[in-house]
Amino acid sequence: MHKYVIKRLLMLIPVVIGVSFLVFFIMSLSPGDTARTILGENAPMEAVEALNEELGLNDPVLIRYARYMVGLLHGDLGDSYKSGRPVFNEVMSRFPDTLKLAFWGMLFAIVLSIPIGIISATKQYSLTDSISMVFALLGVATPNFWLGLMLIIAFSLHLRWFPSGGSEGWKALVLPVITLGTGCMANITRTTRSSMLEVIRQDYIRTAKAKGVNSKTVIYRHALKNALIPVVTIIGLQFGSLLGGAVLTEAVFSWPGVGTYLINSIKAKDTPAVLGCVIIFSICFSIVNLCVDILYAYIDPRIKSKYK
């Protein structure tokens, strides 16, 4: 098991190098005057040229990439072009907020969608099934930012239950969590439903039912445990898209997380900042996937033996 974890962690290195290469070159391919964006429309030409020179932007792409990689190998993500502060500090000061949002959003989605998925599966093709699925699908069908604005109008402006933005206290968390969570409800519900359907039809469940075991017990004790594996996978995969989805949610709710920072950095063509965010995102994503795989081992002992 330890060996497997270490091997997986080592696999992160090529992924990080690949990601940095990809993002670096896409960013340099796209036209954009970084110094001018930082200094604004009113800054005179000498200032723009001086800043471009100071940031080393006049050097060829390969040299800039090499310089960046040398830093990266020493664990240095570089300084943000815009603020001049270390990217690592910039991202890390915002990361807890994004993680908090993603965690509660995911919890919200799980708590709603697994029961809906189970109910749907046990009553396949019934009206309850249809309504539950439509409800879950509405989540994915509703554009994130639109739902966020609608929630602000209803609960912040008219009912005044929750603040419209910021990140202080649990009240500020409620609307962004709902907005973000609904987006990944559909996939979890769908997977729970289909994987439950599959398990329910298997012989041992039929046997248990035939033996007269209470059908609720069958579902929750026997079927659910076996149906969970694909659900855990999809939750892991969703976590990545949740971090991505956080970008728009954060913008709507003025949530001071990495998503907002990433969008602003892309707009400013602040390459080190964008790279820093993406590298930290991808490491995070890979670690979540690793955790998912380790969880498998605990849910399904058959898999555990494979890791030895």
């Binding site: 005179p44 030409m45 708590v111 910021g166 003025s254």
Partner: protein, 513 residues
């Protein structure tokens, strides 16, 4: 009715989620409201970039640094330059200015301001890529004694005094900064200045807080509140809602679509002022057919500015014909105006030989300008001209228009306290392209006038120079000026003491309930 139904529907989702999901997180208590009215919360559209005056050049960072630090000179609300840290100053000749500092001004760490601090601040500022250009005319600072120093210029310049009032020319504490740098820290980690506020806290991406400086030197400009909290709220409607909910005491950057709502709200007030911001449509004079002055004039006659004012800024401003904001220093009403007259436009196009129409692309960089462009597109379509719109990120826009890849583009400008900072980048040949002159207009006569105005110490001659420039460029129709939005700041109606600044360099020290 529709809205109510929506609320009920959303409330349904909400209560379901409260029952199942988020009830568990209620262990902490929310405390976004301020307990005493002596802390003023101000909503802004984005976070600051740096607390180091030498490391930023943007309005929002300046809200922080202008209150933490002081300058030698400051600009009053009546567009006059008066001494801030400087007591008096005098031009001994064209390139030598003698200054006297106020006595006994103290930094927030207790040390006394001296001429050495000024010398250190201005000379290290020259190294800054972001604000070094402001002091490029300064050759050296000569310290005479603790309160007397002389600034030597490398060339005669009218811009010195206005530059010294810019947030980039803040005066730092030499001993403290050198100590910080030696300890491997940065100026922005713990900024110390002579301003009315001390730095308290910065939560990146969210907010920054300033605290009253009890030992501030200027009794007339002492802080009337204990704390200023600036909150960054990027989404327009969310900003207004936060003000309406009482989460904010004041809101800068009021959305034009919400202004009416704020006016109608009996517990809020909207301060309106003439800003120096203008928006314009500019054609690339190096590309046919815009190299023909008649085509540019025709376009000026073809665009219905009143429609743009309605559709783009919801009537919160006015159609504009000039090339520099009305509230700006250096504004003169001596221009050729073009009324909306499609018939005239057609005649001019026929004279220029393009009466069969043509196709070109207009670059825009944000939603507001995209709306203006959509109106221009419809106006020009009536003359048989096809205008394609290409919206892009600001950084891409700067690069591509700087290279002259555009046929035309939408742009805007906020004039600051120094007219040279508007005339030079926008209208001179040397700045064609990336420097700011996106019309690529090149006229040696205009260049010479702008140069003269920058150095001539005769005020009347300077005024004449600028007037002639405006007359020339408006006759040449190098842009189509579109509109000037109204400056707006919204606040709780009981909040007193706000005086807006036309160049958006607002002061907040006087705010109180």
């Amino acid at each position: 009715m529709k809205k109510n139904l929506l609320c009920v529907f959303l409330a349904g989702i909400m209560s379901a989620s409260l029952l199942t999901g988020c009830g568990s997180s209620s262990n902490t208590t929310g405390g976004s409201t301020t307990d005493s009215k002596s802390a003023i919360t101000i909503g802004v559209k984005s976070d600051l970039t740096s607390l180091n005056p030498h490391n930023h050049n943007d309005t929002i960072s300046a809200y922080a640094t202008r209150h933490i630090y002081s300058n030698l000179i400051r600009l009053t609300e009546d567009n006059e330059f008066v001494g801030d840290l400087a007591d008096t100053w005098e031009y001994t000749d064209d390139t030598t200015v003698a200054f006297t500092l106020k006595e006994g001004v103290k930094f927030q760490n207790g040390s006394v301001l001296t001429s050495e601090d000024v010398k250190y601040s201005l000379e290290s500022q020259k190294e800054s890529a972001k604000v070094g250009h402001l002091v490029s005319m300064i050759d050296s600072v000569e310290v005479v004694d603790d309160t007397h120093f002389i600034i030597h210029l490398n060339t005669p310049s009218n811009a010195l005094i206005s530059s010294l009032s810019h947030s980039g020319c803040a005066i730092l504490n030499k001993a403290y900064v050198e100590e910080q740098l030696a300890a491997g820290k940065k100026i922005e980690d713990a900024p110390i200045g002579t301003g009315p506020y001390k730095f308290a806290e910065w939560v990146p991406g969210a907010s920054f807080t300033l605290e009253k400086n009890e030992d501030y030197f200027d009794a007339d400009r002492k802080a009337q509140n204990d704390k200023l909290i600036f909150k960054a709220i990027p989404e327009e409607s969310a900003r207004t809602i936060a003000l309406e909910n009482g989460e904010l005491d004041m809101l800068i950057d009021v959305s034009t679509n919400d202004a009416g709502k704020i006016r109608d709200n009996s517990s809020l007030a909207l301060d309106e002022y003439a800003s120096t911001r203008i928006e314009y449509f500019t054609m690339n004079e190096e590309k046919a057919p815009f190299d023909d002055v008649r085509v540019r004039q025709a376009i000026n006659h073809a665009i219905k500015k009143d429609d743009i004012v309605v559709a783009t800024i919801n009537n919160e401003g006015s159609a504009f014909d000039n090339y520099i904001g009305e509230a700006a220093i250096g504004y003169y009403d001596t221009i050729t105006k073009y009324d909306y007259n499609p018939e005239k436009a057609k005649e001019l196009l026929a004279e220029a030989g393009v009466d069969n129409g043509f196709t070109f692309t207009c670059f825009v960089s944000n939603d507001e300008r995209a709306r203006s462009a959509t109106i221009v597109q419809a106006n020009l379509a009536e003359l048989g001209i096809t205008m394609n719109i290409e919206q892009m990120e600001a950084s891409t826009f700067y690069e591509r228009t700087g290279n002259g890849e555009h046929d035309a583009c939408m742009a805007g400008w906020v004039a600051n306290a120094e007219p040279d900072n508007t005339y030079r980048p926008l209208f001179t040949s040397a700045n064609a392209g990336a420097g700011g002159n996106r019309s690529f207009y090149k006229n040696p006569e205009v260049d010479a006038l702008v140069d003269d105005a920058a150095t001539n110490r005769d005020k009347d001659a300077v005024a004449k120079d600028y007037q002639t420039v405006l007359e020339t460029i408006s006759a040449d129709a190098i842009w189509t000026p579109l509109y000037s939005p109204r400056g707006m700041v919204a606040r709780n109606k009981d909040l007193q003491g706000f005086t807006p600044s036309p160049i958006m360099m607002h002061n907040f020290y006087n705010l109180h309930y």
